[in-house]
Amino acid sequence: MWLRFVVGLLVILIVVFPVYWLFSMAFKTPNEIFAFPPVWFPGSFYIENFKTMWRTDDLVPVWNSIVIASISTVISLGLGTICAYSMARFRTGGDNFAIWILSQRMLPPIAIVFPLFLAYAFLGWVDTWHGMIIVYTAFNLPFVIWMMRGYIQDVPVELEESSLVDGCTRWQSLIRVVLPMSRTGLFATGVFTFIFTWNEFAFAFVLTRDGVLTFPVHVSHYFGALSTYWGKVGVISLIATLPVFLTVAFLQRYIVRGMSMGALKG
């Protein structure tokens, strides 16, 4: 176990170093950011950037992103999982349907964002909360459906069959047996559905102006033609990482080994 620990530590150090570098910009003065040779640790606890951003509206887009990503993740997980169940257990629509769903994820966002903008302009949905939530839900559903289909297929059919024999309806079986058994997949899929929405740039850039500004678009504003606010980039990246980091850190029991199926083997 200790060997694993050391290896794990090394791996994490390598993975996290670039993150550290980025976050350290939040605390570095401009002279330190552009120092030669590079400065490895911020010289002081330079918190000007934090103060400035707290005072202005700079952190609002992070909140906007949290709201939009959370809501669309929940909806995608809900609608996507039941759809996945139907496909996994009943082969609804067969292969063609499954391929069609996946094909939605083949379209590069920048390719379809222009006609989407036209449609949204027509509907008056540009730069609105519901507009963005719906777009991201639609954007994430194929991912949720396909991932959950895989995780649900991992749940042995025998378990469901025995619950149905016991008198449950399909619906109850889905809720009481299948979902708990596939909750690791649900968690992992949920985390990344949130992340995909969180990071998405193309749709957000074209479909918002300043009303529902999301975090990736706002961050892009820090990279100007004649100016780069590395300090603010560091701060906002640090803060923006917290929601997912904390969720994964504290809700890990949902993906940790323990809910083994061995108990139900029989």
Binding site: P30, F34, F114, F122, F205, D210, H221, G224, A225, Y229
Partner: protein, 479 residues
């Protein structure tokens, strides 16, 4: 009875005379404010460059506008490189979301032909702006404001790319002696690119790694302006005017591109991938002897306005009072600049126009160029003659003089139909050459791509646009 009439007449005359006096004395900004008050309580949306520009607008203009007129101002920003596409998309969707659009003049032909900008001649007459318009230096109006005879925008930002050099290093007697010995002529601010390269090599060969000869941007979106200037000075032409076939791969093109690549060798290590901020930091740290860049660098090197909270991203300057100003090649590039226009799909065109007139007027624009966070550079004759601007730092008068002369002799950057696409093609060639591709090959590819594009746009259409651009002084006057 007669006395009463007499008094009444006298009073009326005095009143009339008085009001005539007041009207005549009203400046364009006052007229705009008064006229805009009728829209008090409403809102306009301004689309502009994101980041520092947005802050600058807020500080130097929009807050005050709201105070004076009661009109709320909404700022929508986009990264510089994405501005064009956002304007076009909103126009195609006919959303009317933007009222004022801050455009780069090189997009004017496309935007006007697309119908995205509103002609504003009638408003200029209505609100008496013609006189103050004259005060805008000719090189920032002309093609910046009008297209095919109609006015669409007010040039609002004097972007001219002049030379900044370290006077202290050039004045140093030892350096002068050494240079004379090694190169055979006197060390002065370089007059042309050949001398520029000599000087750059000189400093790097003798003083690296403490000091390098020069630094310039090499990033994708900005490098092409600098290359284009040298290309044009070397006699390069973008097209053969009869056939409209691209001639960018001529000897002038290859030699100037090769020079750009070679020059990079004498810049600080890593400069090959630098954007503006990296170069700025090297310049402010005193690590290089020369740079060619935008006017903002002049102010920031002197520490003017860099202690503003929005400027905390700028490294400390170490070269205040050490900078001299000049022009390389006599005709600097004027690029890209900004102009205030009115969106044709706006529902508040008059209100938008009034803001533009106010912000662009003599008085207000002077204030705006003095607020350092606004990154608007002097563009009016009255700016160049302003005592306040000249007092910003000891060497400011020389700075203003160089900017003014640079503008007077400057050349407009390329502006055709589908300019953005041509710029991408040229950028590809430049970046490929920096990355090691043979300049001839890179430019041959660019020429081929340009020809495809010209065919797409329509040869005759493009020839007209090209001729108009040349007439607006796209090429050096002597040629």
């Amino acid at each position: 009875m007669l006395t009463k009439i007499g008094i009444a007449l006298a009073g009326a005359t005095a009143l009339a005379l008085g009001s005539v006096q007041t009207v005549a004395a009203q400046s364009a900004d006052e007229i705009a404010v008064n006229a805009a008050k009728q829209f008090s309580g409403s809102e306009i949306t301004i689309f502009l460059e994101a980041g520092l520009s947005e802050l600058g607008f807020q500080e130097s203009a929009t807050r005050k506008w709201t105070e004076l007129t009661g009109i709320e101002v909404n700022l929508v920003g986009a990264p510089t490189n994405e501005m064009y596409s956002k304007i076009v998309i909103e126009h195609k969707g006919n959303t009317g979301a933007f009222d004022v659009v801050d455009v780069q003049p090189q997009w004017m032909p496309d935007l006007v032909e697309m119908g995205a900008l509103e002609p504003i001649d009638s408003y200029i007459d209505k609100y008496g702006y013609a006189e103050e318009l004259e005060d805008i230096a000719p090189f920032y109006s002309g093609a910046w404001n009008t297209y095919k005879g109609k006015t669409y925008a007010f040039g609002d930002d004097g972007d001219v790319l002049v030379l900044y050099f370290r006077k202290d290093l050039f004045d140093d007697a030892n350096n002068q002696a050494l240079f004379k010995e090694q190169y055979g002529y006197d060390l002065n601010a370089p007059a042309d690119w050949g001398q520029f390269d000599d000087v750059c090599k000189f400093y790097t060969d003798n003083f690296a790694p403490q000091l390098y000869g020069c630094t310039m941007v090499r990033s994708r979106g900005l490098t092409l302006f600098f290359w284009m200037q040298q290309f044009k000075l070397a006699g390069g032409r973008f097209f053969d005017i009869e056939s409209m076939r691209s001639t960018i791969n001529s000897d002038a093109g290859v030699s100037s591109l090769q020079a750009l690549v070679d020059r990079t060798e004498y810049m600080p290590p890593g400069n090959a991938t630098w954007g503006f901020v990296e170069k700025l930091s090297a310049w402010l740290a005193g690590e290089v002897a020369m740079t060619v860049s935008w006017p903002a660098i002049g102010r920031w090197a002197e520490g003017v306005g860099t202690d503003h909270e929005a400027m905390t991203w700028i490294p400390q300057t170490t070269i205040a009072n050490k900078v001299g100003y000049s022009v390389v090649g006599k005709h600097p590039e004027i690029a890209p600049g900004f102009a205030l226009a009115v969106s044709s799909s706006s529902k508040k065109k008059e209100s938008a126009y009034l803001f533009n007139q106010w912000a662009n007027s003599k008085n207000i624009s002077l204030e705006r160029t003095m607020v350092p966070v606004s990154i608007r550079d002097p563009f009016r004759i009255s700016h160049y003659e302003s005592a306040e601007l000249a007092a910003q730092w000891p060497n400011a008068p020389a700075f203003l003089k160089t900017l003014r002369e640079g503008g007077e002799l400057g050349m407009q950057n390329l502006s055709l139909r589908s300019t953005a696409a041509y710029q991408e093609i040229v950028s590809n060639a430049i970046q490929a050459a920096i990355g090691g591709t043979d300049p001839q090959k890179a430019l041959d590819q660019a020429a081929s791509d340009m020809n495809d594009l010209t065919d797409r746009v329509g040869v005759d259409l493009q020839r007209d646009a090209y001729k108009a651009w040349i007439a607006g002084r796209g090429y050096p006057p002597e040629s």
